[in-house]
Symmetry: D2
Subunit: 341 residues, 4 copies
Amino acid sequence: MLYFINDYQEGAHPAVLERLAQTNLIPLSGYGTDEICQSAKARIREACACHNADVFFLSGGTQANRVVISSLLKQYEGVLAAATGHVSVHESGAIEASGHKVIELPSSEGKLDIRAAREFVSAFFADENNEHMVFPGMVYISFPTELGTLYSRAELLELRSLCDDYKLLLYADGARLGYALASPECDVTLSELASLCDVFYIGGTKVGALIGEAVVFPKGNAPQHFLTLIKQNGALLAKGRLLGAQFDALFEDGLYFKLGKHAVQMADELKEVFKRKGARFYLESPTNQQFIIIRNEEIEKLREKVQFSFWEKYDEENSVVRFVTSWATSIESINALEKVL
Amino acid sequence: MLYFINDYQEGAHPAVLERLAQTNLIPLSGYGTDEICQSAKARIREACACHNADVFFLSGGTQANRVVISSLLKQYEGVLAAATGHVSVHESGAIEASGHKVIELPSSEGKLDIRAAREFVSAFFADENNEHMVFPGMVYISFPTELGTLYSRAELLELRSLCDDYKLLLYADGARLGYALASPECDVTLSELASLCDVFYIGGTKVGALIGEAVVFPKGNAPQHFLTLIKQNGALLAKGRLLGAQFDALFEDGLYFKLGKHAVQMADELKEVFKRKGARFYLESPTNQQFIIIRNEEIEKLREKVQFSFWEKYDEENSVVRFVTSWATSIESINALEKVL
Amino acid sequence: MLYFINDYQEGAHPAVLERLAQTNLIPLSGYGTDEICQSAKARIREACACHNADVFFLSGGTQANRVVISSLLKQYEGVLAAATGHVSVHESGAIEASGHKVIELPSSEGKLDIRAAREFVSAFFADENNEHMVFPGMVYISFPTELGTLYSRAELLELRSLCDDYKLLLYADGARLGYALASPECDVTLSELASLCDVFYIGGTKVGALIGEAVVFPKGNAPQHFLTLIKQNGALLAKGRLLGAQFDALFEDGLYFKLGKHAVQMADELKEVFKRKGARFYLESPTNQQFIIIRNEEIEKLREKVQFSFWEKYDEENSVVRFVTSWATSIESINALEKVL
Amino acid sequence: MLYFINDYQEGAHPAVLERLAQTNLIPLSGYGTDEICQSAKARIREACACHNADVFFLSGGTQANRVVISSLLKQYEGVLAAATGHVSVHESGAIEASGHKVIELPSSEGKLDIRAAREFVSAFFADENNEHMVFPGMVYISFPTELGTLYSRAELLELRSLCDDYKLLLYADGARLGYALASPECDVTLSELASLCDVFYIGGTKVGALIGEAVVFPKGNAPQHFLTLIKQNGALLAKGRLLGAQFDALFEDGLYFKLGKHAVQMADELKEVFKRKGARFYLESPTNQQFIIIRNEEIEKLREKVQFSFWEKYDEENSVVRFVTSWATSIESINALEKVL
C-alpha cells in the first residue's frame, strides 16, 4: 500500500524523537516553564527575527485557533474567514462554541477574496445599524490554504492594510507553514510573515512533530494572562517539555525548513507523475497538497493500492481527490505510484 | 539537586518512549482511529473488565475534566465537588468557562464530605424554589485526592448510592489513579472502580506517559458524537497514535500498575525518612504525595538542595510542604534526601 | 412628520394597555405561574388548536431565538438559516454567543432556498468526515421573512419533510406572525403552522404588545426544565403578568388577528399609493413591510416629512428603502403620504 | 387572603402605569434611543449626582447581573460574592453560563465577610501558582442584601479600598435599592453609593415598576459597545420606551424614594405587630423584608389566611419565614394581619 492520504500519517521526524529521548530523564519544571521550552522559543524568535515575540506551544490546529481567536476577540466581535477556511468548516464549531461568529466570506481556490472582505468591512462600519450585528474583529487566513494555495506578498500587504484601516487583527493559521515557506512560489519569508501578522502559528503536527503548534505574537503582544486562558481551555500540558523539545529540534539548524523543502520537492515529483499520466489538476497548488480530477470509477480501484482522500464531487462523472506529501514521503513511493497509475 | 516537587518532572517511562520509537514510521489513520489506539483501548477494557467500555484518549487532566463534565451535564446542571477539588480550584475556571457551576461542598483531607453532599442534594430536590437554582447533575471525586488520600470501597458505594438515589452521574478524576490502586490502603480494584463510576479517567501524564489520559465510559455510555465534542474543545489530536502508543505500552504486562507500585514504595521510604527525622505529617497519605509540616525558616535552606513544593501556611511559624514520588523516583535520591535533612 | 419606519414605534394597542391597568393591583404569584398567564396560555393553545402545547412568554425576538435555539440544540449542532435571516445578521451574534453556529444558506427574497438546504444536509450526512463539522440540528425560518415574504403551505411541507428525513427540528420565528396570517397570500392557518413546526413563537412586540413573544411547543415538547434555562438566560420576568396580560388581551376575541388584518390592509393602501406614483418595488411583499426602489437624491428630501428606513444600496443611483405599516397605522397617514410623495 | 409573600406581587404603581398610557401612541425610535429614555436617564443622573454616568435599562435582576458581570470581567476572572448572594444561589447558574466563576465567600446575615474577602484576595495574589486559578475581578454585593440587611458607609468604604488595592471592580445589585435608601439605618445616599461603586443597578421591578432595572456606570465607564452586548444577551427591547417611561415616572418628584419610604414604614409596622405577638426575629432587618422564626405546625394554619414565604429550616421544631412589604402594602393589611396572628 502507498500512502498519500495526509501529512500526519507517520509519527515524528527521527531527530525530533531523538530529542525527546535524549532529554527524557532530565527533571524539568512544568507547564512550559522549563529550559528546553525557553531554548525552543529563543530559536523561534530568531527564525522569525522577532526578538520580543511571545511564543506559546499548543497541541493542535483547532486548539490553537480556538484559544487564539477566543482570547483576542472582544465579546461583540467575530472573525472573518474564507468560507472554505478550516475555522469555517472543519473544527466542529470550536470558534462558535467559544462564543464568536465566524463570518464566512467569498473565497477562491481556498483564498479569502480580499476585495470582498474590504467591501464587507467597509459596509459594516458604514451601516448605522451595526450595533445589532457582529463586529469584525479579526481576519483569519490559512497559509498555505486548505487547498494548498498561497497568498502573495502583495496580497498579504493588502490584508495588512485592510486590518490597519479598520483596526482588525490579522491571524495566520500555519498548520502547514513549513510547506508554504519552502515553495518556490512563496514570495514571503517567515520574518516577513511575522512582521505582517498580529499573531500566527507555526505548525508542528503536520511538519515533523508528533504534536505541537507554536503560537507567535510577534510584537510581544500576547493577551494578558494568556497562560491562564490556555489552561482554562484545557490546553496547557503539565509536561510542556514534550512540545518544547520537538520545536527545539525542529528549529535547530533549519530542520523545519528542510522538512518543508523535501515535501514540496516530493509534491513536484508527484505532479510530474500525474502530468505524465495526463491527469487533470483541480487547481494549481504550489505546496504539498495536490488536487486531481479523477473519474469516479477509478477511485475504488486505485484505493486497493494507494491511500489518498476524496475531496469533493467535481461533476457527475468525476471527483476531486487529494494526494499529500510530507517530510516523510520518499521518492520510492512516488516511483511506485507511477507504476500503479 | 534532589527532585520531589511533582510527578511530572521527567518525560516518559523508557518503555513508553520505546513504543513511540518502534511504531514511529508506520503510516496510520488519524484522529485516534488507528490500530495502535484500538489495541490500547482493548487492553484498557481488559484491565477494567468492561468489555463494552468506550475509551477515548485526551491530553491532560483539566482537558479531560472540562470535556467530560461539559459533555455530560445538561445546561441547567452543575457538578458537585470538594471545595479542595482540582475542578474547584486549579483549573482556571475551565468548568465555568464551559458554562457550568462547580458546586463546592465541604471536604476533609481532600475527600468530599459524603454526608454533606447527601444533605445538599436532598435539600435541593426538596426545595420548591429549585427551578431558580443550578441542578446537581454529577458528583466529581479525585481518586486519589489532591491530598493523596483515598476513598474506601464503602465510601465509594455510599457515593454510588447517593448518585443512584438522585440520578446523578459519578465521575472519578484519576490523574494519579495508578498511585491509588497501588496503595496497600486501597480496597478497590480498577474493575470495581469501573463498575461504580459512570465515567472516570486513567491518568497517564503523571504515571509514566509524556502526555495522555484515558477517559473510560465503562458501560459503553459515551455521549453521542463525543468525538465531535472533543474536536470542538480543541482536544482531538491528528496523531492519535501519540496517545494510543503510550497507553498500549502502559497497559501491556501491567506496566501501569508496576509504576504505581514503585512510586508508592518510594513514598513509604520517604515517610520513613521523615519519621526518623521526627517530622510531623500534615495528614496520613497512603499514596505518592506526602505533606510535611516544616518550620518556615527551614524552607529556603532546604530548597538549596531539594526541590519540593510549598502547599500552604500551617500556622505563624510553620508551613505545609509537599514531597512527591513517582515512577521515576530512585531509592538513591531518597537516601540522599535523608542525608540532606 | 409621517411614520412608516417600523412596526414598534408606538406603545401597545389600547386594549392591551387597558388589560394591564385593570389587573394591575391584583396580587399574583411570580415568574409566570399566575392565573392571567394561565388564561393567556389557554387562549393561545385554543388559537393554535394544540391542546397539549407548552407555552412560555419571553420579552423579545432575539431573546426568544437565543433561548429556544440554545435550549434545543445539542452541543455539536448548529442551526440552518437563510443568510438574510434575523439570527444570521441582526442579533449581534446571540446564537454564537450561546455556543452554536448559524449555518447560513442561500436564500431568495428572504426565504431559505429549500433545495439548497436539502442538498447541504444530504451532503453533510453523506460526508464520512462529518464528525469534524457542525451537525445540522434545526432549520430556522422567519414567517413572514425579514423581507415580508411568505412560505407557501407547499414550501412548509417541504421543509417539514426535510426535517423529518434528517431528524432536524423546524423552528419558525414569528416576530411578525400576525402580519403573515392576515395576508391574503398566506395559505396556512395558525393551527396548520403549529402542526408543521416543532417550535415557533407568536410575536407580540411588533403586533400590538408593549413587549412579549409567546413561544409555543405544539406537542408539549418543551425541553426539560425550560423555565430554568429561561432564568439562566436572564429572560425570566418576576412579574410574568406583564406578558400574560398582554397576550390574554391579544388572544381574546381574535384581537391579534384583527390587528394583523388592519396592518396588511394599510400595506395594500400603501402599495397602491406607490403604484400610483409609479414607484418600483424591490420585491412583491404580501405583508406589512414594503420595499421600494428610490433615487438616492430623493431620500433626504423625503425624510424631512416621512420616517422610513434605508434598507440597502440598489445600484449606483438608487437605494432600497422600507416602509412599514402596523396595527397602529391610520388611513389618514397614508393619504398624507400620498400628498408628500 | 393577606399578601406578604414578596415585593413583586402587584403590577406597577399607578403613576408608572399612567405614564405608559399617556405616552403610548407617540411614535418613538426604538431600542432605547427615544426621548423618554433620554429624559429618564437624565433624571437618574441627577438623582445620582453623576452627570457623566452611562445609564442603560434592562428587564430584570438576573439579566442585569449576567449582562453587567459578563461584560466587565475578563475571561480569566471571576466575581467574588457572599455565599448567600443572589448570583451565587438563585440565578440558575446565569453567571457560570456566561463563562465566569462565582467565587463564594463567607457571609454573615447576607453580608459578605469583608475581612474574609480581603484575606482571600490577598492570598490569591500572593500565590505563585495563581495562573492556574480564577482571578478575582469584581466584588458583587447586594444592597440591601437578600436578607434585608445593609452595609454601612464604613463597610462600603472598606470594600472600595479592597477593590482599589487589588484593582477589582465593585458592583452593587440594587434590586431593592429603594428599600435600602429609605431605611433609617442606611447611612449612605444614592450619590454616595454611586461614588463608591464602579457599576450598580437601581431596581425597578420590586420598587413600583412593572419591569425594569437601571444599570448605572457612574463615571461614564460603560464597556465599549455595551448596547451590542445587551443585544447579544437577548436583553435589548425594541420598545425601549417601556423601560424609559417607567423610570421617568419613578424619578420624577422623588417618587422612587417615596415608594421606598412607604414600604419601610410598613415593615416597621409589621415588626411592631410581630413584636406585640411575641415573635422571634431571625435577624434584625432594617428594610422591607422581615424574617420571623415560627413553629412548624403554625405554618400551614397561617397560610390559610396569609401568603408569606418559607425561608429555611431553623431547627427541628421551627422554621424561618419571610414577610415582605412593598410600595403597595397598605396599613389595613397589616392591621388585618395582627388580627390573624
